[in-house]
Amino acid sequence: MNTDLILDIITAVCLITGALMSLAAGIGLLRFPDLLSRMHAATKPQVFGLLLLLTGLGLQLGSWAAVPLLLIAWLFQLLTVPASAHMVGRAGYRTKHLRREILSVDDLDAVVEAAAEEEPEAEITAGDAAAESAAAEPGPAEADAAASAAGPVRKDQDNSGTRKD
């Protein structure tokens, strides 16, 4: 009798906390400024919220036979959520769905720079005009200079550094 009440209370706390994770994700989706920070909010209910909800369900079912099934449900989510979040983040980085001015560290800067330096050799075979503007691609100041020198061509080369691999 008393243990039932305690189990009910623990279950209720787990369920409500798990639901609040979803609410936090909704608020984060609405309030955060760009794709990467929205991703940070959106992946909370999918792993931790689900863990809390399944814990509540397991407590309420009260049989050990149900635990492996709940564990499988959570493990599937634990395996798939990072993979899909990685894919979404990669697609977002490559198609430039991020705001550079609010980014404190970009770990891919060095890689992108290296790829942009290799780029002209590949571009020479493609054409002289393309190589000229690809060489001016790395910095924003140089890109502005290139924009005045060879305006229409520079736009085509804008993403070549990040899309190289």
Binding site: L5, D8, I9, T11, A12, L15, I16, G18, A19, L20, S22, L23, A25, G26, I27, L29, L30, L35, R38, M39, A42, T43, P45, Q46, G49, L50, L53, L54, G56, L57, Q60, L61, A66, L69, L70, I72, A73, F76, Q77, T80, V81, A83, S84, M87, V88, R90, A91, G92, R94, T95, H97, E123, A126, A130, D156, Q157, N159, S160, R163
Partner: protein, 92 residues
Amino acid sequence: MEVLSVAQIIVSAVLALAAVLALVRLARGPSLLDRLLAIDVLLAVVCAGLIVDMAAGRHMNNLTLVVAICLIGFIGSVAVARFVTDGRPREH
């Protein structure tokens, strides 16, 4: 039992609010990837609703559905993310 039915009402309200917020982002989202995130959150809310229903009724009829929704959501978001990556025209 009373505790649990009160909790179910609170959880339903919270999940409904979360779903509405995700739907607003889904309608407003400037890019396809924002909408993809909103759909992921919506799927998580649906999963949460199914689990809460199971916990309140003390049955496990929906558990396979929860696992299936997780897997389908994964396949969907990976496919859309690939589409976004490859959907832009190659520029050289």
